[in-house]
């Protein structure tokens, strides 16, 4: 199994980097590289689905450095599905970027190589059983996504990417300190040091709580920076706004999840120690802080992608709150929220991408006559916004409602604060949407023709979001139950 994986990965990367050079024409090169990327992502989706169905939970590979359990499969299915949708969308989107001169023909290869390597790194990061290896892959995702941000031929992108790499790497250095402490703690408590998730889970109850809390907090700083938790979020709005929309999708719907995944895993270990209470408080405080900062930053936004980026911070905050509550129900809905948030965010950034191509700007004020010019993208933005603030009949509603109910059992004042903040968020979205889609202009715009490769992923997302809002499949229920069980909640 793993040998096949590796062989094919090596071959795939080699082919990608070598070929495409022979195609001189830019659009032909784009189609070719894109086709390879779509195939690559599709293979991953198939592999993760096969793992989901056939590989039993708790299978180890490579000297126990890689492993598969229900949480891993759930995350890699979501990640590879988002990557596949993005790869399809990129076909038309990157062609438009080429035509607009926003990306250079010679940077196409770099773009697609980084895209594919990011996919590879993300999947392996989820498969990691070892925290140090996970840390390394997490750092690699930072650098690869920074490369993807830079490929767009604008100068602000370099700054956004630098800020991203700097903030994330600085925070991740603290994680390393945490890992070293954790290793020392385990070697003291259990005889031999370890950073493997499975051993940590098994030996959690013998770890000295104070030292474990210390290491948790250090590790949390780095993972929180990757997940965009306030106050380590400084890189996020700029990076999401400046990146090409298809990359913003990956940043928001996939990469933030890895940080949150790391925190969830660490919390699952913490849950078995006596220090879980204090760690819960830490997570909930940082979660509410993130929601608050995001909500208050959303009100004055005029940039559609910045608005969506702040919404990501808000949702990561909610996920932190859910993890911090730590009841089985809360964890169940946190997992569902991860899926719902990923789908809706993808929809929103796809729509923003099309609108950007139409108007050459991300500013709401520029988007005149949007509903007639770009009905699909406009409706994508409208339904996406309605879905993301948690209106009933959309999937985010279910998870938000249930996490908040659980929060009520934890602390009533916290619930009230969060509710008020959500009201602010809803208000911000409503105000901006109404302003944007009611502005009219007499001037004629040339309609941007959306290619089929961009509309199809959007329609798929529409269907998925609408369906998931009203129908909760039994299979999904079972998977989420398994994960909650496996994490020991």
């Amino acid at each position: 199994m793993d040998l096949i994986l590796f062989a094919y990965i090596a071959a795939g990367v080699l082919i990608l980097s070598l070929m495409g050079r022979s195609l001189p024409e830019a659009s032909g090169r784009n189609s070719f590289l894109n086709t390879l990327t779509i195939i690559h992502s599709a293979i991953y989706l198939i592999i993760s689905t096969v793992i989901l169905v056939f590989v039993p939970s708790g299978t180890f590979y490579f000297n126990r450095y890689l492993f598969v359990d229900s949480l891993v499969t759930y995350e890699i299915v979501i990640a590879s599905a988002i990557f596949l949708l993005s790869a399809c969308y990129a076909r038309g989107y990157v062609r438009s970027l080429l035509e607009a001169g926003e990306i250079k023909a010679r940077e196409l290869r770099l773009f697609y190589i980084a895209f594919n390597l990011l996919l590879l790194t993300v999947i392996f990061a989820f498969l990691c059983n070892n925290l140090a290896l996970f840390w390394i892959l997490l750092e690699l995702t930072t650098i690869l996504s920074a490369v993807l941000i830079v490929t767009l031929n604008a100068k602000e992108n370099i700054l956004a990417a630098l800020k991203y790499v700097f903030t994330a790497s600085t925070a991740m250095l603290f994680s390393i300190i945490g890992l070293i402490v954790l290793f020392a703690v385990t070697s003291r408590a259990a005889g031999s040091g370890t950073l493997n998730w499975d051993v940590l889970m098994r030996e959690a109850n013998i770890l000295p709580p104070q030292l474990f809390t210390l290491s948790f907090i250090f590790i949390f700083i780095g993972f929180a920076a990757k997940a965009g938790i306030v106050p380590f979020h400084m890189w996020l709005p700029q990076a999401h706004a400046k990146a090409p929309s298809v990359i913003s999708v990956l940043l928001s719907a996939v990469l933030l999840n890895i940080g949150a995944y790391g925190i969830l895993r660490m919390y699952a270990v913490a849950h078995k120690t006596t220090s879980s209470h204090i760690i819960s408080i830490v997570l909930i405080v940082f979660g509410i802080l993130s929601i608050a900062v995001a909500a208050l930053s959303m009100l004055p936004r005029g940039n559609v992608k910045k608005l969506i980026a702040f919404s990501s911070i808000e949702h990561m905050g909610l996920i932190m709150v859910g993890i911090g509550i730590g009841t089985p129900v809360a964890i169940f809905w946190v997992l569902f929220h991860t899926l719902a948030h990923a789908l809706v965010k993808t929809q929103l950034f796809f729509s923003a991408g099309i609108l950007h191509q139409q108007y050459g700007s991300n500013q709401f004020d520029e988007m005149k006559n949007a509903l007639t010019l770009q009905p699909l993208a406009s409706w994508g933005l409208i339904t996406g916004s309605i879905a993301i603030i948690g209106v009933p009949l959309f999937p985010v509603f279910l998870s938000k409602l249930n996490i908040l109910t659980q929060l009520a059992g934890y602390s009533l004042p916290a619930l009230l604060i969060v509710l008020v903040l959500f009201l602010v968020v809803a208000g911000a979205f409503a105000a901006i949407l109404i302003r944007t889609f009611t502005q009219k202009s007499e001037s004629k715009y040339r309609t941007y023709r959306t290619s089929a490769s961009m509309t199809i992923p959007m329609l798929v997302l529409f269907a998925a979001i609408l369906l998931l809002g009203v129908y909760f499949p039994d299979g999904l229920h079972r998977i989420l139950d398994n994960i909650v069980d496996g994490l020991g909640f």
Binding site: A132, L133, E139, L140, V165, I176, F183, L195
Partner: protein, 226 residues
């Protein structure tokens, strides 16, 4: 017995030197001397790793020592000098929030706080006073590096702060030699920094993040022609 005492005393003296270099990184204004200080700091850390290797023969320590010399004492300072040469800047005079003296006072407080916080916790892991000392110096070095990142405005000096932080982490990790993947982790960090430095060299980012926007307009042609 006497050998161990001599060995641990040498290491302790080196720790103090490392801390001294960190103080210089915080206060010096001339870029070329900053690079030299960083290089010397890395040499000290490599020597500490080497001494520890001679003491307990863990191969990881030898690898770390060699890697530190190769990347942090030789390659990265060379790249930094190359960037400085191509940008023609000699001094970084801009500080924000804190003056150098203020930063020094803050870092003294930080060292003390780290000592208070960690001495009660880390003693439970190991009674070895050398380990405690190393851990405290390592984390202090990390925090002092972070202070450099916050107080300096030029990206190249910020990077020096980051590299100092990394040296602190390295010092901290030296005392738990069997830590898995630590060599790989260090390689990844160095690679990332080299990529960032290469990007800075390629795009000519010589000014601060804030002023960069205005300055970039003059680069427009340079970007187009490429």
């Amino acid at each position: 017995m006497t050998e161990t005492i001599v060995f641990s005393n040498i290491v302790k003296i080196l720790f103090v030197f490392v801390l001294g270099t960190a103080a210089l990184v915080i206060t010096r204004r001339t870029l070329s001397s900053l690079f030299t200080i960083y290089s010397i700091q890395s040499w000290f850390i490599a020597i500490i790793a080497m001494i520890l290797y001679l003491n307990n023969h863990a191969v990881t320590l030898l690898l770390i020592a060699l890697l530190t010399v190769a990347s942090k004492a030789i390659v990265i300072p060379a790249v930094l000098r190359r960037i400085q040469f191509s940008m023609n800047i000699k001094r970084d005079l801009e500080f924000r929030y804190l003056t150098p003296i203020g930063s020094l006072l803050v870092s003294a407080v930080l060292v003390f706080l780290v000592y208070r916080l960690f001495s009660q916790y880390l003693l439970t892991i190991s009674g070895d006073s050398l380990l405690l000392f190393g851990a405290v110096i390592g984390i202090s070095l990390t925090l002092m590096g972070m202070l450099v990142i916050f107080t300096r405005r030029k990206i190249i000096t910020k990077i020096l702060g980051y590299l100092t932080m990394e040296n602190g982490v390295l010092l901290f990790s030296l005392f738990i030699a069997e830590l898995p993947f630590i060599v790989e982790v260090l390689i990844v960090i160095d690679l990332i920094m080299l990529i960032v430095l290469a990007a800075i060299l390629a795009f000519g980012i010589d000014s601060t993040v804030e002023v960069f926007h205005e300055k970039l307009n003059s680069f427009t042609n340079w970007f187009r022609d490429e």
